[in-house]
C-alpha cells in the first residue's frame, strides 16, 4: 500500500546507551513491549511515581522485565538522582502526564537536544502557534467567570473548555451555546482552576468518506536545535468521534493522496519547529478548517494504539523507532502496509451512566475482520463521557484488505456492539442512542473537536 521516507542519520550511541522511561497507567506503549523493543538498542530502566495509587500491578510487570525504581515524581531532585543512578543517557515517556518531567530531566542531563516544548501547557502551545502564524484559533486562560463569558461573547460558539494539561479528552466540554456555558459554570462541582477556553476549530467535513474530519500525524525526530532534524512521519485516520470529544480509534494506513499527505506532514513539521520539538516522538492532531490547517493539539509521545496498529499492518516495531529517536539515533522505517487496520474504541452514549447488558466476547470474536479483543466492559460497570476516550466500553482490533472492506467491518462490529450493550442513565432509565452509528453508516460530517 503506502510507504514512507526514512529519517536522516545523526548521532549514534550504540548499545552503551541507557534509557529511563517514566511509566504509569495509560501509557501508549506498555513496559513489556518496551522491554522487547529496546533489545539491542539501549539498556532500559523504568521510573514509576510512588505517589500513584492502584499501580502496584504495573510496577510488578515493570520489575519483571527491567530494573524499576519508585520515586515521588513531585520530588525533582530525587527523580534526577534516580535517573543518574540508572546511568541514563536520556529519559522518555509514553504518557502525556510525564512529558514535562521527562523534558526537565533531559535538560538536567544535558540530553534535551535543545527541545523547548512547554509540555502540560496547551494554552502556551496555542499562543506560540498563533505568534508563528500557524494558528488562527483564539484561546484564553480565564481567571474568573466574567472573563470566560466575555471570551465566549467575542469568539462565539461552539466553544471548547478543557484542562491546560489534559489528556484523552478527560474533562473536556464542547459548549454549543451561552446557555450551555452558564449551565457548566453553575454546576456545583465545576471549578475553573487549570482550565482554558478555545475557539472551536471549524470543520471542512470528513477528510475521507466514513472517517473523521481530522487526522493525527506521528512524527519521529532525531535532531537537535542546532540541526539537522532527521524526521519520519505518517498519518493516521479515525472513525467519527463520539460526542463530545471522545476518540474512536486509529485507522491505518492513510488513504489520502500522497500530495495531501505531504502537505499535512509539512505543516506538522512547521508546528514542531515553532514549538521547539527537535528530538523525540510526537503525536500531532491536525484538522483542516475553512481558514487553513489547524493543530488540535500536540503530544510528546506515540499516539495510543498506533504502535500495535503498525505491528498488525506491517510487522514493524514503532516503539523501537521512538526509542531510537529519543537517543538521536538514525533509524529507517519503510512502512509497507500488508493490510488495513483499525483499533475500534467503542464508546458508550453520552447519556449512559451504567452498563446493564454486555455482548458476548466469543460472538464478537467471530465477526468478520476481528483479530483481537482487548476489552469488553461487563454489566454493572459505571460509564461517564467525562472520563474521555479511555472510558471506552470495548476495544476491538479489525483488519481488512482495503479501506472499503475495513469500513464495512467497522460498521458490522459497531452494530453488534450497539445492539449488544445495554445502558441506563443516572436515574436508571434505559439509554438507547444510535447517533454515532448513524454517523458512521451515513458518513455524515463530523463537526466536532478532539482532545488527544
Amino acid at each position: 500500500m503506502s510507504s514512507l521516507p526514512s529519517i536522516s542519520p545523526t548521532a549514534s550511541y550504540g548499545e552503551a546507551a541507557r534509557l529511563v522511561v517514566l511509566i504509569g497507567h495509560q501509557s501508549s506503549v506498555s513496559p513489556a513491549d518496551l522491554a522487547l523493543s529496546s533489545a539491542g538498542l539501549a539498556g532500559l530502566s523504568f521510573l514509576a511515581d510512588s505517589g500513584q495509587t492502584g499501580e502496584e500491578l504495573l510496577w510488578q510487570i515493570a520489575r519483571g522485565v527491567a530494573p524499576t525504581t519508585l520515586v515521588d515524581f513531585t520530588d525533582f531532585p530525587a527523580c534526577l538522582a534516580a535517573v543518574r543512578r540508572a546511568g541514563a543517557t536520556a529519559v522518555t515517556t509514553f504518557m502525556d502526564r510525564w512529558c514535562a518531567l521527562a523534558a526537565r530531566l533531559n535538560e538536567a542531563l544535558g540530553a534535551d537536544a535543545g527541545n523547548r516544548v512547554p509540555w502540560g501547557r496547551k494554552d502556551q502551545h496555542r499562543r506560540i502557534l498563533r505568534e508563528a502564524g500557524l494558528s488562527k484559533i483564539r484561546s484564553l486562560v480565564p481567571t474568573d467567570r466574567a472573563e470566560l463569558t466575555g471570551f465566549a461573547d467575542t469568539v462565539g460558539f461552539p466553544l471548547i473548555v478543557k484542562p491546560v494539561d489534559g489528556f484523552a479528552s478527560r474533562n473536556t466540554w464542547l459548549l454549543e451555546s451561552r446557555h450551555e456555558l452558564e449551565q457548566l459554570l453553575d454546576a456545583p462541582d465545576f471549578d475553573l482552576t487549570g482550565l482554558y477556553a478555545e475557539e472551536f476549530i471549524r470543520s471542512c467535513g470528513p477528510m475521507v468518506p466514513g472517517m473523521a474530519d481530522y487526522v493525527s500525524v506521528e512524527v519521529f525526530r532525531s535532531g537537535s536545535a542546532a540541526g539537522p532534524i532527521g524526521s519520519t512521519s505518517f498519518i493516521t485516520h479515525r472513525p467519527p468521534q463520539a460526542w463530545p470529544c471522545r476518540e474512536t480509534g486509529p485507522i491505518l494506513p492513510s488513504p489520502l493522496p500522497a500530495e495531501r499527505q505531504r502537505e499535512l506532514i509539512g505543516f506538522t513539521n512547521q508546528v514542531l519547529d515553532a514549538l521547539g520539538g527537535y528530538r523525540g516522538m510526537y503525536h500531532v492532531e491536525v484538522k483542516p478548517s475553512p481558514t487553513g490547517l489547524e493543530v488540535i493539539e500536540v503530544n510528546g509521545r506515540i499516539g495510543g494504539y498506533i504502535t500495535k496498529a503498525v505491528h498488525y499492518g506491517t510487522g514493524h516495531d514503532l516503539a523501537r523507532l521512538g526509542l531510537a529517536s529519543v537517543l538521536g539515533q538514525a533509524s529507517t522505517l519503510q512502512l509497507d502496509w500488508q493490510q488495513c487496520v483499525c483499533a475500534l474504541l467503542f464508546q458508550a452514549p453520552a447519556g449512559a451512566r451504567r452498563i446493564v447488558q454486555s455482548p458476548s466476547r466469543r460472538e464478537l470474536r467471530r465477526l468478520p475482520g476481528v483479530i483481537a479483543i482487548e476489552s469488553v466492559s461487563a454489566a454493572g460497570a459505571e460509564v461517564h463521557w467525562r472520563t474521555g476516550t479511555l472510558g471506552l466500553v470495548a476495544s476491538v482490533w479489525l483488519t481488512a484488505d482495503d479501506h472499503d472492506e475495513l469500513h464495512r467491518r467497522i460498521v458490522g462490529v459497531s452494530e453488534f456492539l450497539t445492539d449488544g450493550f445495554g445502558y441506563v442513565d443516572a436515574d436508571d432509565r434505559p439509554v438507547r442512542d444510535r447517533s454515532w452509528l448513524d454517523q458512521l453508516i451515513g458518513q455524515d460530517s463530523n463537526d466536532s473537536e478532539v482532545i488527544g
Binding site: 513489556a32 519483571g64 522485565v65 466469543r362
Partner: protein
Amino acid sequence: MTPAEVRQLFEELLDVDDVTMEDNFFDLGGSSVLALRLLLEVEKRWGVTLSLIDVLHNPTAASLAQCLAEAPSSDSAV
C-alpha cells in the same frame, strides 16, 4: 502438559475459542496483566514457575509449551 493444554489456557484467559498453536498471545488481545495471570495458572496447573520475559519471548501455545517442557518444575527447586 501438552501444547493443546497450553492453547486451551490461552482460550480461557482470552475468552475466545479459536486459538491456534501459532497464534501470538499478545496479538490476540493478551495484555501484560493477562500474561501475569497466565504465569499464575501455569504454576498452579503444572507446577512450573516462568518469568514474564519467558512469556514475552514465547508468546505462542507451541513455543510456551516447549519452554515449559524445558523448565524445571517449582517442586524440584531447592
